[in-house]
């Protein structure tokens, strides 16, 4: 699903966030991405979602080389990717329903279809009762789940999440991870960048470990069955 081929990323300041990184995230898998702070996890996800472009190397999603994607084509690639990033959260001047509906409106679905799908997605994350609420009064975990509903509402084949459990307590974190597992079970490829080694080492999914912009290790947690 995602293939990095000798990818380097140097930021304008001259810092090399990724150095000749090659890796493969197979389709239909839930894969964790971890590593020390500054290892390049967010950078990797930004490259996949075309927020940043690589300095060198090739990135393929679903066989499509992102280097060949022009500015005009970017929106159409992004529609295939559900993105859950912390600094691109909800729009606080609209209801939960309208937030989740946005990808469907962009894609040009009709009114009834939008209603059906938004409710299915909200139901899936357990927030159907809050559809008319504004995001502000919701708890951090609930806002996070609204973001997840928005990312999955148009059923993208690929989900990216950058520290989705960042400031949640262990119980909520586990719930969120279970949610991702459920999406994965219906065939979605999921890539989650996280620091929460504790949590992921108890889950049975492949883990990629970055170190200073390179792939340090790939495999399953010691405690989990391969």
């Amino acid at each position: 699903m995602i293939r990095f081929d000798n990818v380097s990323k140097r930021y304008p300041g001259g810092f090399d966030a990724l150095r000749g990184l090659s890796l493969h995230v197979p389709a239909g898998q839930l894969t964790f991405l971890t590593g020390h702070s500054g290892a390049g996890k967010s950078t990797l996800l930004k490259l996949v979602s075309l927020i940043e472009r690589p300095t060198s190397g090739n990135i393929l999603i679903d066989g499509q080389n992102l280097n060949r994607v022009t500015r005009r084509q970017i929106p159409f690639v992004r529609r295939k990717v559900g993105i859950i990033f912390q600094n691109h959260q909800l729009l606080f001047d609209r209801t939960v329903f309208d937030n989740v509906a946005l990808p469907l409106i962009i894609a040009g679905h009709d009114h009834r279809e939008i209603g059906r799908r938004v409710r299915a997605a909200l139901d899936k994350v357990g927030l159907l009762k809050h559809e008319r609420a504004y995001p502000h009064p919701l708890s951090g975990g609930e806002q996070q789940r609204v973001g997840i509903a928005r990312a999955v509402v148009n059923r993208p084949p690929l989900l990216l999440a950058d520290e989705p459990t960042g400031n949640l307590d262990p119980e909520l974190s586990r719930e969120i991870m279970q949610l991702f597992e459920q999406f994965n079970q219906v065939g979605v490829t999921v890539l989650i960048a996280t620091h929460d080694i504790d949590l992921i080492s108890r889950m049975n999914h492949p883990i990629l470990i970055l170190k200073a912009g390179r792939l340090q290790a790939a495999g399953y947690a010691r405690g989990a069955a391969p």
């Binding site: 005009r72 929106p75 946005l102 009114h111």
Partner: protein, 348 residues
């Protein structure tokens, strides 16, 4: 399935995650087969039109959330549009006035050089009998020479000539009720065809001068109008620029979830459109109000000149044009701002 977590928790961790493609609906919610859409997907025309209508109304609604600020912008645009359209309407009125004067212009009939003075007088007498002629004045060759000498300043040139080069003239004043340009034209032709008439000429000199002045006025209004139109573009552009900055977050999020430039541009274009339309409506009100105020005094003045001239406000077509111009300027101004600033906003 957050609600069921307590039952599943233990099992979820150990399962090797078989991916069943078709998940059965459980407990009321449906999650159809995944993935099932083809991308990119184009909206149907009906959905597309509905979407446009929705954005049109949404952007109007957004403007009404801050009525004072929106009204201020519309008022500035309104004043900028009212000035040229008011002036143009005034020029149109002057043009109508000059058309009605054109009919009252006198006609000079230059007589044949050979025609004797008595014959000229007789011709004048005959013409006085025509129903469409009010008054005829005979100017003999000698009188014409004296007049010319007095007004032209070419006296010495004339002295050098042995004979009087000027013909005698009949100055014909048409009856006022035959004021139509066509009537004046047919009278002119008949006078031209008279025995003994060399040339019949409408005395249009002052009308022509007036027309020349009008042309200058029109050009001036065009220049002012172009400048004010530019001002409207800048006003709308700047307002939309601020609007874009305020909605930066929204734009970033929309881009990140696959909104095309056209999609993101749309609400701003419609906002500009509404500013233009609002400005045009205010301009229309201002012009009509001004003309309503002027109408009475102008009619009174015209009455003093024995004329039934009435000041006409903006007509239907002109009003429509004003509205169109406003909408177009608003759209364009916003388009300029959006084109310049939307590219700068990217998710990071």
């Amino acid at each position: 399935m957050i609600g069921r977590r307590s039952r599943k928790r233990g099992a979820a961790v150990r399962r090797p995650a078989p991916p069943p493609r078709n998940r059965k609906p459980r407990g009321g919610w449906r999650w159809p087969a995944w993935p099932q859409l083809r991308w990119p997907r184009l909206a149907s025309p009906r959905v597309y039109a509905a979407r446009h209508l929705q954005v049109l109304l949404e952007s109007l609604g957004r403007l009404t959330h801050q009525p004072a600020a929106s009204l201020m912008t519309a008022a500035v645009i309104g004043i900028a549009l009212a000035l040229p359209s008011g002036l143009l309407t005034l020029l149109d009125n002057l043009q109508r006035l000059s058309l009605s004067w054109e009919g009252t212009a006198s006609i000079s009939v230059f007589l044949n050089q050979e025609l004797e003075a008595e014959a000229g007088q007789a011709l004048a007498g005959e013409l006085r009998g025509w129903p469409e002629i009010d008054e005829v004045r005979y100017i003999s060759r000698a009188e014409a020479l004296a007049e010319f000498r007095e007004h032209s300043g070419f006296g010495e040139v004339l002295d050098a000539l042995e004979t009087n080069p000027l013909p005698s003239v009949l100055v014909v004043e048409p009856v006022k009720s035959d004021l139509t340009p066509a009537g004046a034209e047919s009278l002119l032709q008949r006078l031209q065809a008279l025995e003994g008439a060399e040339l019949a000429q409408l005395d249009l000199q002052w009308v022509q001068r007036f027309a020349a002045l009008m042309e200058i006025g029109r050009r001036g209004v065009l220049v002012v109008g172009a400048l004010l139109g530019l001002a409207v573009l800048l006003i709308v552009g700047n307002t939309i620029r601020l609007d874009i900055q305020n909605r930066r977050e929204e734009i970033e999020v929309t881009k990140l979830i696959g909104g095309t430039d056209a999609f993101i541009r749309r609400p701003f274009l419609y906002t500009g459109f509404w500013y233009g339309v609002g400005g045009a409506l205010l301009a229309w009100l201002l012009v009509q109000l001004a003309f309503l105020l002027l109408r009475g005094p102008v009619a009174r003045l015209a009455g003093l000149y024995d004329s039934s001239f009435l000041l006409q406000p903006l007509g239907f077509v002109d009003s429509l044009n004003l509205l169109l111009a406003g909408a177009l300027l608003g759209w364009l101004g916003s388009g300029l701002a959006v084109g310049r600033h939307l590219r700068e906003i990217e998710p990071s």
